[in-house]
Symmetry: C2
Subunit: 216 residues, 2 copies
């Protein structure tokens, strides 16, 4: 198989598969009991909402979800979103389209200091977006903690993605996050194009192709 063909290999994923990947992830995440989810939009919205269902314990409150919007620079405007929606390219710059609303967040869930915070996205491609989200959130927490004289409290971050692509990454995550199991990918896959159901123009065909894959 030539390289160009290899790069267009697609794995079709159905909604029900996404749902089950979140269910599996929640089994692990339950042990950590996250206080707050931060969904990276648009891809993280759907897994975050599903995770909330599985992380909710009877009688306990729902885990609040805050959304943030991150785009790789060339994706804003024309971008490669039609061709390879989840593709992160080298040298791309992450820009914020939305960030946490600390004002409303603090009123209802308190600030981030000392919390267990779960960052959710659909795919870890080059790791650029996740690295950005984590390091910026860590900066925010550090600034808040210094301001409030609460530097001794430990804030823990966790990451959940549906798919991690086994490929060279353009950015790193902290070693202790990996070694402590705070980075959770429901599946690790080769560097293929993952076709998520929310991008499908024909959802019946998408589901058929996803089911076909499971028969092999």
């Amino acid at each position: 198989m030539v390289e160009s063909e290899k790069m267009t290999e697609k794995e079709y994923v159905s909604y029900n598969e996404v749902h089950k990947l979140c269910q599996e992830g929640a089994e692990i995440l339950k042990n950590f009991k996250p206080d707050l989810m931060i969904a990276i939009g648009g891809g993280g919205f759907i897994p975050a909402r599903i995770l909330r269902t599985f992380l909710k314990e009877p009688g306990a409150k729902n885990i609040p979800i805050q959304a943030i919007g991150l785009s790789l620079y060339e994706q804003i405007g024309q971008g490669p979103l039609t061709a390879t929606p989840e593709k992160e390219q080298a040298g791309m710059e992450v820009v914020r389209t939305q960030w946490l609303d600390f004002n409303n967040l603090e009123q209802h869930a308190g600030n981030l200091i000392g919390k267990k915070i779960l960052i959710v996205d659909e795919v870890d491609d080059t790791r650029t977006t996740l690295h950005y989200a984590l390091s910026e959130l860590q900066k925010d927490v550090k600034a808040q903690a210094e301001k409030l004289g609460r530097k001794d409290e430990e804030t823990s971050f966790y990451i959940f993605v549906l798919h991690n692509k086994d490929k060279p990454k353009h950015a790193e995550l902290p070693e202790d996050m990996i070694s402590e199991g705070r980075y959770i990918a429901a599946r690790t896959v080769p560097d293929i194009w993952i076709a998520y159901p929310w991008e499908a123009r024909d959802i019946d065909e998408q589901t058929r192709l996803a089911e076909l894959k499971n028969q092999h």
Copy 2:
């Protein structure tokens, strides 16, 4: 059927049905060409992300999604979310858990003045949440327009929901929004409990029950 039984009537909806409801809605919404989507979280996250796929025109940019978080007061904390997740009760107060990030929004999509803005949620139950979202956004736009001396520009709001419940509402939407077709519900249903797939603990059973319903 006694009232208590009637109230627990459930309609199971599959993910693929949700996807197709968004596809149908997008056919109408395309005519309006919205500039920006505002997803009311958590319920609006999933339809908004799916709508983005169907509203994207080839070669054109993705429609930006901003998320807002609204909860009815008694739902924060213990709330009735396990029993009837989409239920809005009389006298409940809407509170913001997250609002628009005007700072980052303006840098990448401009401000809201003169825009066509699509508000997305999963269900219109008592209309309380939608009324709140619309009227607060209108206030924000008005304040921005006054500040910038752009009071003459017309900002249009649109609403999309998957399901509108045919029942007495606790709040109104503007008459011209309804008469001009700027309120779009993919389905209008009786006052039943709509079981959305992202709330399902057993997604295979949920899908089976949803498909069973369509055979009747």
